[in-house]
Amino acid sequence: MSEEPAFRVRDLAVSYGSQVALKDVTLDIEPRKIIAIIGPSGCGKSTLIRCFNRMNDLIPGTRVQGQVLYHGQDIYANDVDPVTVRRNVGMVFQRPNPFPKSIKENVAYGARINGYKGNIDELVERSLRGAALWDEVKDNLNRSALALSGGQQQRLCIARAIAVQPDTILMDEPASALDPVATSKIEDLMQELKERYTIIIVTHNMQQAARVSDKAAFLYTEVNEAGTARWGVLVEYDDTSRIFTNPRDKRTDDYISGRFG
């Protein structure tokens, strides 16, 4: 815990229009660790992960309260451009979403718009190697990315994200659309990536969270007395081993052991 956290989240609350989606989230995220966000459907996991790169801003009517400090700087401060935030905090989505361009152009896209001056070919190779995809595609860099398998496409999306040279990568259920073999490749890749990047992953899969993450945040849905509104809260945030073996909160215990959710 000696190192400065990559993110400090303080009293974070998110609402869409008049509906509160998430509140009372306070946690610190250490650099070069894998943090899993777990919890039942609709508890605000995706809402939370999208706060780290301000993707929520793209949904009209979204309001974010509280603080998200990235290396000490509030990313929701007035003078911060969300575009700059996203250039430092990459993201991989649930469904692989490569552009309908060649493999090479997919990887180069982010670097190009960010004004990358170096050698594009080297960057493409380095990024594809970093995403454990190079050996499979090195002879076909000009082929359409859409010709790749789902698992390959997802690793291409990871390569595309790291080509921008972020220090954090957000993964919103990155393996939920993939078969077990492709999933295990992504999981192995995450272990390699955490040597250089901070990784925050949303997952529905409890075994996956237990396998890959160092720390886990358990979110749960609260309902108001009238039953007319529901929102997510952070129930517990701790080392993954502790969350899965000896959670402090009964709701965590019930969810982990499969009593509801």
Binding site: R86, R95, N114, A161
Partner: protein
């Protein structure tokens, strides 16, 4: 196997009877007939118009297409000036309409707040439903004195050294007709483009945003490449309408059969010569006018086939 209804149905494969079994073949026959009817009408139209026009085209020879002299009193029918006018006014219309239409479509899909989108999109669609004669009259009585005439004069005075703006400039010209055509095809191009842009997966837009793209970079990098083929299709449909538009153009083009480099001079188009002279024409004159229609039809088909080929090539690539 315990609840199989063996006592009510003798065999599970007994065919259903009555109309419900006939519906599929009847439906197939009806829709097939409708499809074939279109082909028959198209073929009939081509054959009949070509046969009607043939004597006139034959007596004129190649000068029917390559001469600019159209003088029914002396039996001379050369249509080149009309072809030129049709192509030129349509090109002017495209040059003006395409940027505007794309702007409208992108604004309505990517920029505008939700509550503006519906009403504005609806109004743009309504513009497509305005009859062309209304556009023509509005052009003559409002646009011509208010905008086209002064603009044409100004263009010829300031840019007159460029041949296409050579003076004296007039609002009743290729330019004037092109501007009104542009206004008429903007709703078509923009509403079709809007549908194409809306079909771009939000996954890909999010991918671009997550890589640190600005809205502009997201549009040029993720949206437009994906929508390219569809937008070209939309533009070609607009061009098709511009090529065939009759009344509004007849009112504004100036009705003089000449080929000039300057777009500020009066001209004529194929559709408008037919509309202007058809009621008073007889004999060879009427056959020549039908011949103009045949050539216009061919041009429209060539444009459509070319557009389709272009779109195909892009989708393949």
């Amino acid at each position: 196997m315990t609840n199989a209804p063996t006592d009510t149905v003798a065999s599970p494969l007994v065919p259903r009877k009555g109309f419900s079994r006939m519906a599929d073949p009847v439906f197939a026959a009806l829709t097939g007939a409708a499809g074939i009817l279109v082909l028959i009408i198209l073929g009939y139209m081509v054959v009949v118009t070509t046969l009607t026009a043939w004597p006139a085209m034959q007596s004129q020879g190649w000068s029917f297409i390559f001469s600019t002299t159209w003088d029914p009193s002396r039996g001379q029918y050369g249509i080149l000036a009309f072809v030129y006018g049709t192509v030129l006014t349509s090109l002017i219309a495209l040059v003006i309409a395409v940027p505007f239409s794309l702007g409208i479509a992108l604004f309505l899909t990517e920029i505008a707040p939700g509550w503006i989108r519906g009403p504005v999109a609806y109004m743009v669609d309504l513009l497509a439903a305005v009859p062309s004669v209304v556009y023509g009259l509005w052009g003559v009585f409002v646009l011509l004195p208010g905008l086209l005439q002064p603009l044409a004069v100004w263009l010829s005075r300031t840019l007159g050294w460029i041949p296409i703006f050579a003076g004296p400039g007039s609002g009743l010209s290729f330019f004037g007709a092109g501007v009104v055509l542009a206004i008429m095809i903007i709703p078509i191009i923009s509403s079709l483009s809007r549908e194409v842009l809306r079909a771009v997966p939000s996954d890909e837009k999010n991918a671009a945003f997550a890589l640190g793209a600005t809205r502009w970079e997201m549009i040029t990098g993720a949206v437009l490449p994906r929508a390219k083929a569809g937008i070209i299709g939309a533009v070609m449909l607009g061009l098709g309408r511009a090529l065939g538009e009759t009344i509004a153009v007849a009112l504004l083009v100036g009705s003089r059969e000449q080929i000039t480099a300057s777009i500020l001079k009066p001209g004529y188009t194929m559709a408008s010569i037919i509309a202007n002279q058809f009621t008073e024409a007889t004999g060879d004159h009427i056959r020549a006018l039908v011949g103009v229609g045949v050539v216009l039809f061919i041009i429209t088909i060539v444009v459509n086939v070319a557009a389709r080929a272009l779109v195909w090539r892009m989708v393949e690539a």
